[in-house]
C-alpha cells in the first residue's frame, strides 16, 4: 500500500504549516498562511458601512476578492471566490453588524497544490486578526485519491495533477464556539464532524469519498490545534497590551 511521495512524506502527513498574523500594516486584519510551498496572503478590511446592492440589509455581508499570482482572474478564480465567500459567510456571525461589508482580499503568493484550502485557512486567520466575530474557526484540507484508492493528504501541485480525484473539505473547529452547548451536537453527531464546504474534482466511488472525509476529519483536528496555538499567544499579548 505504500506509495512514495516525492517529498518523502507518508500519506497522512501534512506539509509543514506556518502562519503569521498582522503582516500588513494598513489592513484591519491580515494573515499569511503557508503549507509547504503553497502560500497565501489574506487581508481583511471592515466591517465597513453599507452593503452592496441586493444584499440583505439586516445582515452583514462578506466580499471576497481573489488576486491570482499573475494574470487575469478567470472562471477558476471566480469559483474560488464564490466558495470562499460562502464558506466565510457561514462562519461569521452576520447578525452582529447588520448592513456592513467585510472585504477579504486574498493574494496568492505561490501555488503548489491545495491552494483553495490554504486560502481558506489564511482568510480564517485574518478574520480572527481583524476581530470579526466568528461562530467558530474553520479548517480546510485537501485529500487526494490515487488510482489504487489510497488517500493522501495535502498534496503538492505535482501530486494533484497525477491523482484521479481530489476533495477540498472545510470542517469546523468548535471547541471555542460561542454557541450554546446543546446546539453543538445534532442527533448525537459532534459539531466538528459536520461539513461546511466540500468541492470535488474527478470521479470516485461514494465510499472513497466517505473515506476521504474520515481522513480529512482526523487531519483537521491536528491543524485546528496548530491554528489555535498560533492564535493564542497573540491574543494574550493583545489583552495584556489592552490592560
Amino acid at each position: 500500500m505504500e506509495i512514495d511521495r516525492a517529498d518523502g512524506r507518508n500519506p497522512n502527513q501534512l506539509r509543514p504549516l506556518s502562519c503569521s498574523r498582522g503582516v500588513l500594516n494598513r489592513a484591519h486584519g491580515s494573515a499569511s498562511w503557508a503549507q509547504g510551498n503553497t502560500q497565501v496572503l489574506a487581508a481583511v478590511y471592515g466591517p465597513k458601512a453599507g452593503t452592496k446592492k441586493n444584499e440583505n440589509p439586516e445582515k452583514a455581508s462578506v466580499e471576497v476578492i481573489w488576486k491570482p499570482k499573475t494574470g487575469q482572474i478567470g472562471k477558476q478564480e471566480k469559483e474560488y471566490e464564490m466558495v470562499l465567500k460562502r464558506t466565510l459567510q457561514s462562519i461569521c456571525i452576520l447578525t452582529i453588524h447588520p448592513n456592513t461589508t467585510t472585504s477579504v482580499i486574498v493574494q496568492v503568493v505561490h501555488d503548489d497544490g491545495a491552494l483553495l484550502p490554504c486560502a481558506i485557512n489564511a482568510s480564517c486567520a485574518a478574520l480572527v486578526d481583524a476581530g470579526i466575530p466568528l461562530k467558530h474557526l474553520a479548517v480546510a484540507i485537501c485529500c487526494c485519491l490515487a488510482d489504487s484508492g489510497l488517500v493522501m493528504l495535502d498534496p503538492t501541485k505535482l501530486e494533484e495533477e497525477k491523482m484521479k480525484a481530489f476533495v477540498y473539505l472545510v470542517l469546523p473547529n468548535s471547541i471555542l464556539s460561542v454557541l450554546p452547548e446543546e446546539s453543538s451536537s445534532v442527533k448525537g453527531e459532534q459539531m466538528e464532524q459536520g461539513l461546511i464546504t466540500s468541492v470535488t474534482h474527478g470521479v470516485m466511488s461514494v465510499d472513497d469519498y466517505l473515506h476521504c472525509l474520515e481522513r480529512g476529519r482526523a487531519a483537521t483536528s491536528k491543524m485546528s490545534d496548530f491554528l489555535r496555538r498560533n492564535l493564542q499567544p497573540q491574543l494574550s499579548s493583545d489583552s495584556s497590551k489592552a490592560g
Binding site: 478567470g74 472562471k75 477558476q76 495533477e161 474534482h201
Partner: protein, 258 residues
C-alpha cells in the same frame, strides 16, 4: 487542473457550406421567382404566440414566426436602477440580446444596441407611463433563433408581454416589415431574403387606434411604392393584432378556469 484547458480556447472556424458560389436569390427579370419557403409575396409566416413563458417575470411572451423565435420578459414596475431624479412619468428600459446560436455562424455580432433603442421607440408611445411614476418597467428580449424579421417579431412579442404583465397600454403594438427585392415587395422576409434586399420598410403600429408608432425605410423608394408598402404592412399589422388579442383572451380564460 481540469479547468485550465478551457481557459485558452484555440481559434476555431465554422466549416463553410462548400466553396461553390451560391446563385443569387433573385435575378432581375425572373418573373417566376418563388420565395425560398414557398410563400406568396404578400403572405406572412404563421405566427405563434404564447404568454407566460417565464414564471420569474411579471409578464412574458414567446413568439415564433417560422424560424424566428423570441422570448420577452417584463419586470416591474419596480424601483429605478440608478439614483435617478424624481419623475412623475414612469420609465421604460429595453434590452434586446441574441443567443450565441441564434445565427448560422456562432456568435456573429448583431447590433443589439440599435435593436434595443428601436424597441424602446416602438413601445414608449403605447405605454401609459404616467400610471407608474418614479418606477421603471424593464422589457428584456432574447432572440433564441434569428430567422429574419427579428425586430418586428421582438416588438410584437414585447407588447404582448407588457399586456401579460398588466402594464397599462393604449393598444397592443404590432410590427411588420416588407423587403424590396427588385420589382417585388415581399412581406415578413426571412433572413435569406433580408440579406439580398434592395430596401426595406418596417412599421410598428397600434392597430385599433390606427397609429404608426415607428417607421423606418432604407433603400430607394418612390412615394407610390411607400404608399403601397405601408398599406401592406398596416393590413398585416391589424391581422397580427387579432392573433395577439385572441392569445391574450385564451390565456385569461384559461386562468379563470383554474
Amino acid at each position: 487542473m481540469a479547468g485550465g484547458a478551457s481557459a485558452t480556447a484555440p481559434s476555431t472556424y465554422s466549416p463553410s457550406p462548400n466553396q461553390k458560389k451560391k446563385p443569387p436569390l433573385f435575378k432581375d427579370g425572373d418573373l417566376d421567382w418563388v420565395r425560398p419557403d414557398g410563400r406568396e409575396f404578400h403572405q406572412c409566416r404563421p405566427a405563434f404566440f404564447r404568454t407566460g413563458a417565464v414564471n420569474a417575470a411579471a409578464g412574458s411572451a414567446y413568439a415564433e414566426f417560422g424560424n424566428t423565435k423570441v422570448i420577452v420578459s417584463v419586470f416591474g414596475p419596480r424601483e429605478s436602477k440608478k439614483a435617478m431624479m424624481y419623475s412623475d412619468m414612469g420609465r421604460l428600459n429595453c434590452n434586446v440580446s441574441y443567443t450565441t446560436f441564434a445565427t448560422a455562424v456562432r456568435g456573429q455580432v448583431l447590433d443589439q444596441k440599435e435593436s434595443s433603442s428601436m424597441l424602446h421607440k416602438a413601445l414608449e408611445g403605447a405605454i401609459r407611463l404616467e400610471t407608474f411614476p418614479k418606477t421603471t418597467v424593464d422589457v428584456f428580449a432574447l432572440v433564441l433563433e434569428s430567422g429574419g424579421s427579428d425586430l418586428p417579431v421582438v416588438i410584437s412579442c414585447a407588447s404582448l408581454a407588457l399586456a401579460d404583465a398588466g402594464i397599462m397600454l393604449y393598444d397592443l403594438v404590432t410590427a411588420v416589415s416588407v423587403s424590396c427585392l427588385g420589382p417585388n415587395l415581399v412581406i415578413d422576409p426571412i433572413s435569406e431574403e433580408e440579406s439580398y434586399q434592395d430596401g426595406s420598410l418596417m412599421i410598428t403600429c397600434m392597430p385599433s387606434r390606427y397609429e404608426v408608432t415607428q417607421l423606418t425605410i432604407t433603400g430607394e423608394w418612390s412615394s407610390a411604392r411607400i404608399n403601397e408598402a405601408m398599406q401592406l404592412c398596416l393590413d398585416a399589422c391589424s391581422k397580427l393584432g387579432k392573433v395577439m388579442r385572441s392569445c391574450l383572451k385564451e390565456a385569461a380564460s384559461a386562468s379563470e378556469e383554474s
